[in-house]
Each structure stands twice: as C-alpha cells, then as structure tokens.
C-alpha cells in the first residue's frame, strides 16, 4: 500500500487505518466518526488528503486546453480564482470531478480524486497539445483545515492573516498554496505543502486547542450533508453533469467547445431520463449505496448511490438517481427487504457556512 507523508503521524495518533485508492489512510481517530464530524462543524478539523492528485497544467495554450477538457470557462476567472468542475468524455459522462485554480493564463493548479489519478493523467495527456505540459506534483502533501475556527487557527498557529482571502481563492505564501475551499460546507482551507514540511505543519495545527484530526469516514458524512457527489459512487463515466445536478458548473455556457459538448447540450434540450436527488429517511434505519428507491405504490424508480447517518440531523440521509416521473416527494428506500419511509429533499441537507 502507498503511504502519504503523514501516514506515520496517523498511526502514532492510534488512527484506525484502511486502504483507500491504494493508500493507507486514516478512517477515524480516537474520537470516533460522529464526534469528529460534530467537532468539525463546531470547531476545526484537520484532514490528510495527500492521496489526492495535485497537478500543474502549464503552457501557452493552458487555458484553451482546460476549456477543452471541462465545460467551464476560465476566461473571466480572476488570477488565483478556483472552480469546481468535471472532466467530460465524448458521451457527456464524467471522467472525474476536480478543483481547478487559475494561477495565470498559462498556469493552472488542479486537485483531482486519488482513485482517478492515473486515469485522469492518461486522459488529459491524450487530449493535450504539445504546447501544454502536465505535471503530477508528487512531492506535495495536501491538508484540509475545515470548520468555523479554521481562519483563527491559521492566524494563531502560523501567523497568517487570511481575512482578505475569499471563498474559492488561493494565495501562495512561501511554498504553501492555501485555498479557501473544502469538502465539508464549513469555512476552511486546503493547504498544499511540500511533503518534507507536511508532518511539521500537521503537528503545528494539531497543537491548537480547537483542532482535532479527522478521518475519511467523517469526511464522507460531512460531504454527504452538503449533497456533494462522490466520484465513483454518485457520478461516473456514465452520468452526465446535467442529470447529476451539476449544470451550474457550465455558468452562462460561454464554453461550447469542450469534449462531449454536443452530447451534453443535446441532453439539456431533450430533457432528462433520470436525475440525482437527495432524500432523508423518516423511518428508522440507514440507507446505503445500492438500496432501491420506490414510490409509495412500491414501484422501483431508482437506486441509492451514497447514504449514511447524518450526525448533524440525527437522521439518515442519502442521494441517488431516480427516473423522471410524477410520484411526489414521499418515497420508500428498501433496505434488506424492508421499505423505509423517506422524503425527497433539496440538497444541501445542512446549510453551508462557507465564507462569501
């Protein structure tokens, strides 16, 4: 199994470790999943997400290339502005979802999913003009500091004044790339740091009384409460951004020349066969990936793609795809043969507190 620069730190914190995308990663620490989740919502949590791919895309045609492989436009994006977007394939499916930061017209910093690293690099290199260079930054770790106390923690531990840094913006301070964004719906930062300094930065953040280490299990329940799709579960090569509810990433549709544009615009015009919805259970139980979604008349209309217990709501929530139709918002989720009452809900399930 591969390690991150922080794997030994997790083991010394008695984390329960598990394999994730080929890496030995912390699932949860001594606090446990629920307490870690609630701690992040109330204070600040630090996550090791160094398994994710950090990539630089550089060259004279870097922006044109980015606008070829994603449906987003970066023309009006300010320098150091970041966007959530997806890599699309010819059929209009998604190769991956990712965050792209415009460092300049000729340099973009990309963070993509650990499990898609090889696939994405191959995909990008296959569509890349000679003038564009793609570099996987293998000597960098990635830490996420998330929660309402995150800004204060960075001020008090590293003497950084980040008051002026806005949501979805990056600032480079020495060798740190600090981006005000995350996967939890809280205010917070993702910090790209040279691997050699990562353990020292990790330890420094943990010394703060408002910070606890948070594992991947709570990272998943935090993102679920926000309704963020998880690649490989809620979105994949066969789902389009339209049915996934990600049409907004196309903005005003300034970009019409990306890979799969024809399929996606056709899809927009012809209407949807299915769409991604969120649901909350009313009855007791937990609806996880693979459970059937049924109407109150017991007709199967879809499948759960991710689900779990929401520590903030103290109820089970989830998301999945359902066929288009007139069946209202009252549904059943079938778990081990038992129909559990549920209701279709707008996402996010919990109000985001990201800084504007």
């Amino acid at each position: 199994m591969k390690k991150t620069p922080l794997t030994d730190s997790h083991i010394s914190l008695s984390a329960t470790m598990a394999e994730f995308a080929g890496y030995e990663m912390p699932l949860y620490y001594e606090l446990g999943v629920k307490a870690e989740h609630l701690w992040t919502r109330a204070h600040a949590g630090v996550f090791d997400v160094s398994h994710m791919g950090q990539v630089l895309i550089e060259g004279g045609h870097a922006r044109a290339f980015i606008e070829k492989i994603t449906p987003s436009s970066f023309e009006k994006t300010p320098v150091n502005g970041a966007k959530y977007t997806v890599l699309t394939n010819e059929a209009g499916g998604m190769v991956d979802d990712l965050i792209i930061t415009k460092r300049s017209e000729t340099q973009f910093f990309v963070v993509l999913n650990a499990g898609c690293k090889e696939k994405d690099l191959a995909w990008m290199r296959a569509h890349c003009p000679e003038s564009v260079e793609i570099t996987l930054l293998e000597d960098r770790a990635l830490l996420a500091l998330q929660g309402p106390k995150a800004e204060r923690v960075l001020t008090e531990t590293l003497s950084l004044d980040l008051l002026a840094l806005r949501y979805m913006q990056m600032v480079q301070i020495d060798e740190l790339f600090i981006s005000r964004l995350g996967y939890t719906g809280e205010d917070g930062f993702e910090i790209s740091v040279p691997s050699t300094y990562a353990p020292a930065l990790w330890d420094r953040l943990l010394e703060h009384k408002h910070v606890n280490p948070i594992g991947l299990a709570a990272r998943d329940s935090l993102r679920l409460e926000m309704g963020y799709p998880l690649y490989g579960h809620d979105i994949d090569d066969t789902t389009s951004p339209i049915e996934a509810g990600l049409t907004w990433i196309m903005g005003k549709k300034e970009n019409r020349d990306f890979i799969g544009a024809q399929s996606i615009f056709n899809h927009l015009e012809s209407g949807l066969q299915r769409r991604r919805i969120g649901f909350q259970l009313i009855g007791k139980g937990v609806a996880r990936e693979g459970a059937e979604i049924r109407t109150v008349k017991d007709e199967v209309i879809g499948t759960v793609t991710s689900g779990g217990y929401s520590p903030s709501l103290e109820q089970s929530i989830g998301m999945g795809y359902v066929d288009e139709g007139e069946y209202g918002t009252d549904i059943f989720i079938t778990v081990r043969g038992r129909n559990i009452e549920a209701v279709i809900k707008d996402m996010p399930f919990v109000t985001p507190k990201t800084k504007r």
Binding site: A217, V286, P311
Partner: protein
C-alpha cells in the same frame, strides 16, 4: 449464573438449561463505534447455527449478528432498539434474542472467556 461462551464473530451466548440468550461482545461493541439503529428479528423464527438474525447499523457500516446455535427465537429484547447503549456484554440488558436450542451439542465448538481473550489477542 452460567459463564458466557463466545464465537469468532464476537457474539456471546448465555446458556440456562435448554434456553440461551445471545448478544454481542464488548470487543464487537467497541469496534462498531457509534450505533445508529438495530434491526431485530421476529419471535418464533427458526435459526440455524451461523445464520444472521439481526443487523446493527453504526455510523460506519451495517453489521450482521450471527446465531452461535440452532433453535427457535422465544423472545426478542425490543427495548434495545431504543437504548442502543445497552447493547454490550450485559446478560441483563444487552441480550438481543432468547432461543430454545434444538441442538445443544453445537455449544462444544464455542470459546470460553479465556479462550476468547486469547483469540482477541491474536487479531
């Protein structure tokens, strides 16, 4: 009170004559973490040794509970569903089901406390 016996799947069983109470060990309880929901079986169901009869949903995952012996479920501890903290190595409050055993010789393969502790040490 008779001593508890344990399975490799971390269930405990307390035997009194031909009857037995079944629950999960403290080790299993700790490993499951924060519990969310307990799915209980119906009274009267017939179980084979090794058959799953309940599901414990924790924040992390759904885990099945397996019967250490064959028999018929004579009662179910319904109150556990609303007091999940009691689900542990507690024969008074923490039992999940009571069973009328159909083949008590199946008990022979189970571990006593010392053997179970040694088994946990090897995990």
């Amino acid at each position: 009170m008779s001593a508890l016996k344990y399975t490799k799947d971390h269930e405990w069983i307390e035997v009194t004559g031909n009857k037995a109470k079944i629950g999960i060990s403290d080790h299993a309880r700790d490993a499951l973490g924060d519990l969310v929901f307990l799915e209980l079986p119906d009274t009267g169901r017939t179980l084979s040794k090794g058959e799953d009869f309940a599901v414990i949903e924790s924040v992390k995952a759904a885990s099945e509970v397996y019967s250490p012996i064959s028999g018929e479920i004579t009662s179910v501890n319904e109150s556990l569903a609303d007091s999940l903290d009691d689900l542990k190595e507690d024969t008074e409050k923490g039992w999940i089901i009571a069973v009328e055993m159909s083949n008590p010789s199946e008990l022979e393969g189970l571990m006593d406390k010392v053997a179970y502790d040694l088994y946990l040490g090897e995990l």
